[in-house]
């Protein structure tokens, strides 16, 4: 009885809080039928927003994966002064408001910022341009790969790596044949979390981007612009697309679990 009640309560809550919003988005997007919805996606500014989002996501994921692997390896394999501080610092982007993380880049690279005028003389534009958006996204998504890798690599310990060293493996062989494959589930999960966050980041990107349609608007920013311009169908279509992309990523995350279950299954 209690279990049934809990089951109902859980699904009720999930339905209301998690499943209803995407359903509403989809319903709104398709309120005039599927053709008008698809038509809004042909808007050049919309296409530019999708392309920019993909570009920023790819760059952020690649850089943060490389950084995350190195940082996790450093933090789990060595004990050095300042290690505890570094562990805290890595998590900083999670607790800082995204707006603040965006403002930091403006203060550094904006026209009135510390290095703004110097960069301007060299003809490099960071604030209100794609590099700024990438920097803001990098900052916000920095913790995910590190934080998912650290617990697993900590638990793995050094034994496997030491065994590999004694067997004659070199540094790169150990990294690519032992350490990373051993932590591959966590790595995969961290990469996907970075992807989802990079695609959906609004606050930090909003501050540095300057909202130039077709140039510095990512999908979340473009959705806002459309919505504020009373283009409801276009806004919700774009939102549905973004939601679909994020949900695909989330479902991909549970793939390793599923595959493990089938592999471990004796039948």
């Amino acid at each position: 009885m209690t279990r049934f009640f809990l089951w109902c309560a859980t699904w009720g809550l999930i339905g209301l809080v998690l499943l209803m919003p995407p359903a509403v988005i989809l319903a709104e997007a398709l309120s005039h039928g599927i053709m008008p919805a698809l038509k809004t996606l042909q808007d050049p500014d919309g296409i530019a927003a999708i392309e920019l989002t993909l570009e920023v996501t790819v760059v952020a994921v690649v850089l943060n994966t490389i950084f995350g692997i190195l940082a996790a390896w450093l933090l789990t394999r060595f004990r050095f002064p300042g290690r505890g501080l570094l562990l805290v610092l890595v998590e900083l982007p999670l607790s800082i408001s995204p707006v603040v993380s965006g403002l930091v880049w403006l203060l550094l690279f904006g026209a009135q910022g510390w290095w703004g005028s110097a960069l301007d003389r060299m003809g490099i534009q960071i604030a209100f341009a794609v590099p700024g958006i990438i920097l803001a996204t990098l900052f916000v998504t920095l913790p995910y790969v590190v934080r998912t890798l650290i617990p697993l690599m900590e638990q793995q310990g050094r034994d496997a790596e030491e065994a590999a060293t004694l067997a004659g493996a070199g540094f790169w062989q150990i990294l690519f044949r032992v350490t990373l494959p051993g932590a591959r589930v966590a790595l995969f999960s961290g990469v996907l979390m970075t992807t989802a966050r990079a695609m959906g980041e609004f606050g930090a990107v909003s501050v540095v981007s300057g909202h130039i349609p077709g140039l510095t608007e990512t999908m979340p920013l473009h959705i806002e612009s459309l919505y504020n311009g009373y283009q409801t169908v276009a806004a919700f279509t774009m939102a549905a697309l973004l939601a679909f992309m994020s949900m695909t990523v989330v479902f991909l995350r549970s793939l390793p679990d599923f595959m493990n279950r089938t592999r471990e299954d004796p039948s």
């Binding site: 496997a160 030491e162 060293t165 067997a167 004659g168 493996a169 044949r177 032992v178 494959p181």
Partner: protein, 353 residues
């Protein structure tokens, strides 16, 4: 291949605490040596230093007369089995075993068919011929142990280093695998160094026992020597249950006179002075056993082939064991005194002769 360790010193990183204090050890080719001692004695530290896994502050480790500096120089020559097995979870058993061959440079690496033949040969040797395709997570503790051993042996090392390899196994598997390991050592002509905290295991499997305490080697001897002539009171106690009696060796009579009443003096050639006699419970012999004696013998049942009794001395009771084939009737419920002539004598913890 002989292993020689000379004057190895290692301090704990960042502190003054000494982990290895001037350790020298020579293991001849083909020997099976067990490093034993309580936890924190430095056995694993010494083994890891020999393997090159840890740095040491000074001293040398040489294999066959050749001094080894880095771990890379040991690769392939030294097989190491970790306490945790340290198998690679994402590889099949076969890939785990062939790892040491797979990472060789193209020029040195055997062909794929040679590698798989070697893997099968090792699987057969480990008596797990059908497990090549399995993943480590599916294996039992004993099977993982064998895979770890096979992986360590894949590059045909001459030296095998084992760090508490039987720690996580249940007693029956433990016994079976250590007998088998000894046979394997003899068959392959290995030089093996085994770390264990189980002295019984060490005595059963090794030719030489190296007892360590506080980062030093206390005694390095054969199991028989160790039993007959333990260097220190610690070694005596570490190797098995021991009862100790304080007393004095008299200069004129050459007798050890125990302080406690009910314990009989015995003759010794050791120099006179205060001494401590230590003896195993099954070496104590109750003299003039008869009813109505001064010392009562209380029975506690049987264990490991011994009948357990305790002799009630005035101040305390001490364990006395008899082999089970001693007839119950012949052990009376009291005696006149305890004969401890088999005891080893110690002064300030060191054995006196």
């Amino acid at each position: 291949m002989s292993v020689v360790v000379e004057n190895l010193i290692r301090c704990a990183p960042g502190s003054e605490r000494i982990l290895l204090s001037d350790v020298s050890l020579s293991v001849e080719s083909g020997a099976f040596v067990a490093l034993v001692g309580p936890s924190g004695a430095g056995k694993t530290t010494l083994l890891r230093a020999i393997a090159g896994l840890d740095k040491y502050d000074s001293g040398t480790v040489s294999l066959n007369g050749e001094t080894l500096a880095s771990i890379q120089e040991r690769a392939g020559k030294v097989g190491f089995v970790f306490q945790s097995y340290a198998l690679f979870p994402h590889m099949t058993v076969a890939r785990n075993i062939s790892f040491g061959l797979d990472v060789l440079s193209k020029a040195q690496r055997p062909s794929a068919s040679e590698i798989s033949a070697r893997v099968q040969e090792l699987l057969d040797l480990m008596q797990i011929p059908d497990l090549g395709k399995a993943y480590p997570s599916r294996l039992s503790g004993g099977q993982r142990q064998r895979v770890a051993l096979a992986r360590a042996l894949a590059t045909r090392p001459d030296v095998l280093l084992l760090d508490e390899p039987f720690g996580a196994l249940d007693p029956i598997v433990r016994r079976a695998i250590r007998t088998w390991l000894r046979a394997l050592h003899d068959q392959l002509g290995l030089t093996t160094i085994l770390v264990t905290h189980d002295q019984e295991e060490a005595l059963e499997v090794a030719d030489r026992i190296v007892v360590m305490q506080h980062g030093r080697i206390v005694q390095n001897a054969s199991p028989a020597q160790l039993d007959e002539a333990p260097e220190t009171a610690f070694v005596m106690e570490f190797l098995g249950e021991a009862v100790s009696f304080k007393g004095v060796i008299q200069a004129d009579t050459g007798l050890f006179i125990p302080d406690e009443a009910g314990v009989l003096p015995f003759a010794t050639s050791c120099p006179a002075g205060p001494a401590e006699a230590m003896i195993r419970p099954f070496e104590i012999f109750p003299e003039n056993a008869a009813t109505g004696g001064k010392i009562a013998l209380v029975r506690h049942g049987r264990r490991n082939g011994f009948l357990h009794y305790s002799a009630q001395l005035p101040e305390r009771s001490v364990p006395v064991f008899f082999p089970v084939h001693t007839k119950h009737q012949s052990i009376s419920d009291s005696c006149q005194g305890l004969n401890i002539a088999e005891a080893r004598l110690f002064r300030n913890g060191q054995r006196i002769v």
